[in-house]
Symmetry: C2
Subunit: 197 residues, 2 copies
């Protein structure tokens, strides 16, 4: 309609999570109407982030510093490492200021069906960190799926030789969650893990 | 969480139509995980489009050519001009290949409440095109709102001296639309504009 530049822009915007062809057209139009104030700043922010941001060589977090701002924050409790599947999960925990120790991003979970083995995950750097000493607890905050559970089981075995306390996040009824809309698996897990009231 | 570059990128992505803070974080993460294959191409597409795309000086369409690819397409019927409110409306008509003449993008509608007068719209270039001759019909494809209707009325008066046929797109029941969910205004317009069956 308006030349190859517009078609290409709409095509790339449509591939973003949460966007489709329709919203990509609306976004492209909005940007094209404000090239100086919206379009060029977004282009620069993308290029800056692509240039600056790299995975932290210690924990796998994405940051413009390496070691990342969490690993290099001396205020944090360096004796507790929380293992997460993805940087998105790390961001979720950080938004709630829920964990004051360090992290380790696995980059996935073991999956027999998906053909994901230990060598495909960010496991070796975690073992190096354990061997370095000073860690007293590893919290496994992995997804409550079959693959997440088998990854947690496998990691617990690998971490045992280091003599650390290995824990898992609790499963149960989400806060504010009505029982009648929960799936059976969650209800069963919440019942099994019942505690004195 | 990961430095100022990531925060800035999420902030700009969240301002796109159809995006919010949550989807902007997901989009940023997806892009950060594929800097070479997704992030830099999007940055380049934005910069290319911002550099190349300008409003057509004849019709107001956004294009990397001026006159735009529609105005310079000699296969199109140059005697019919379709007046639309926005480039988005032009794109919608072009997607359906519904109009084979030229366009004129007003860039808005007259609005007493919004303080939009004729001098705020792309009207003078339309009058120049009319004065240039060769136009036999002007189709007003403006929104079916109070402001759209008053703009159509005002434009019809301005176009009359040129001796052209001024028409409006029909209002009525949308194809596939059930009568019982339509608003009263649309139902009334459809009844008034009834035709022999």
């Amino acid at each position: 309609m308006g030349g190859p530049e517009i078609d290409k822009l709409i095509g790339l915007l449509a591939k973003l999570p949460g966007m489709g062809p329709r919203s990509a057209r609306r976004a492209a139009l909005k940007l094209l109407q404000q090239p100086e104030s919206r379009m060029l700043p977004l282009a620069a922010a993308l290029a800056d982030a692509a240039r600056a941001v790299r995975p932290c060589h210690l924990c796998g977090n994405l940051d413009s510093r390496d070691p990342c701002s969490i690993c290099s924050d001396m205020e944090r409790d360096r004796s507790v490492i929380c293992v997460v599947e993805s940087v998105g999960d790390l961001w979720a925990l950080e938004r709630g200021s829920l964990h004051h120790g360090l992290y380790h991003v696995l980059g996935g979970t073991l999956s027999a069906l998906g053909g994901v083995g230990p060598e495909d995950l960010n496991v070796a750097p975690l073992m190096s960190r354990m061997a370095g000493g000073g860690v007293s607890e590893v919290i496994l905050a992995l997804p409550a799926t079959v693959d997440g559970a088998s990854t947690a089981h496998w990691l617990t075995d690998r971490l045992r030789p280091f003599g650390v306390n290995v824990t898992k996040v609790a499963q149960g009824v989400p806060i504010g969650g009505a029982l009648d809309v929960l799936d059976d698996g969650t209800l069963a897990a919440a019942l099994r893990a019942r505690r004195p009231s």
